[in-house]
Symmetry: C2
Subunit: 129 residues, 2 copies
Amino acid sequence: MTAGPRSTRQRTAVASALGDVDDFRSSQELHEFLRERGESVGLTTVYRTLRTMADAGEVDVIVREDGESVYRRCSGTHHHHLVCRGCGAAVEIEGPAVEQWADAMAALHGYTQVSHTLELFGLCGHCGS
Amino acid sequence: MTAGPRSTRQRTAVASALGDVDDFRSSQELHEFLRERGESVGLTTVYRTLRTMADAGEVDVIVREDGESVYRRCSGTHHHHLVCRGCGAAVEIEGPAVEQWADAMAALHGYTQVSHTLELFGLCGHCGS
DNA sequence: ATAGGTGCAAAGCATTTGCAGCAGC
DNA sequence: GCTGCTGCAAATGCTTTGCACCTAT
């Protein structure tokens, strides 16, 4: 059977913290956030937990341009993000047309097992000026 | 006036090497490639040169999922890539519809100064099986 | 009881930076 | 000759790993 991960204080704390913010956070930022909350969790554990959750598709991951991985709770369905460069606020967006375009491009060039990364970055109404 | 970078043996070697491959290479890989060619260039210089060229829009940059930056010569016009996970071969593709969709999404949510990242990853006809 | 989780310290890696010497212009 | 370029070594910063201890089941 798919046993699934054990239920521990740390795992619960990480999941809970992710549920309370709606922007992308790095492992280090989330670790600091947990510390401020008083629910201290080892940095290593935060890394391992987020990685596990990401592999399981339970959270979204984006690799920022500086190479750092940032995480956010996930809605479950396939989607992309519109992320604010100023405050990090993120909106989930969908684009059926894009998915179709991607598949068509892959077929056109003889590529199979195609996945894609698509993220929009801009300034939200609040940070825009 | 815009002085532009000085013309040196190293800078020429890096640009030349980029012109001879058509897949994405990391700084380290390009450094190794240059070494094999006999046109040895310091690793630091490869890093600095690629970064400079990327900032100037002279080469394409993609941040892989493991956080490593990879570079490729650039055609000049705005485009995206279809990259083979097996051999790294890359095809430049354009998607006017996607650009429009991105702008529409940004406007819909009140975001300005929007840029986007979009890359497709799959297996090319040769690596597919 | 026992397999899996935790966390500290140390290691790994890609990338950047300090600095002394070298080379375009 | 002055300024920017180069490259070695050292430093930085994110992430992973070794290992001994702890805990949910």
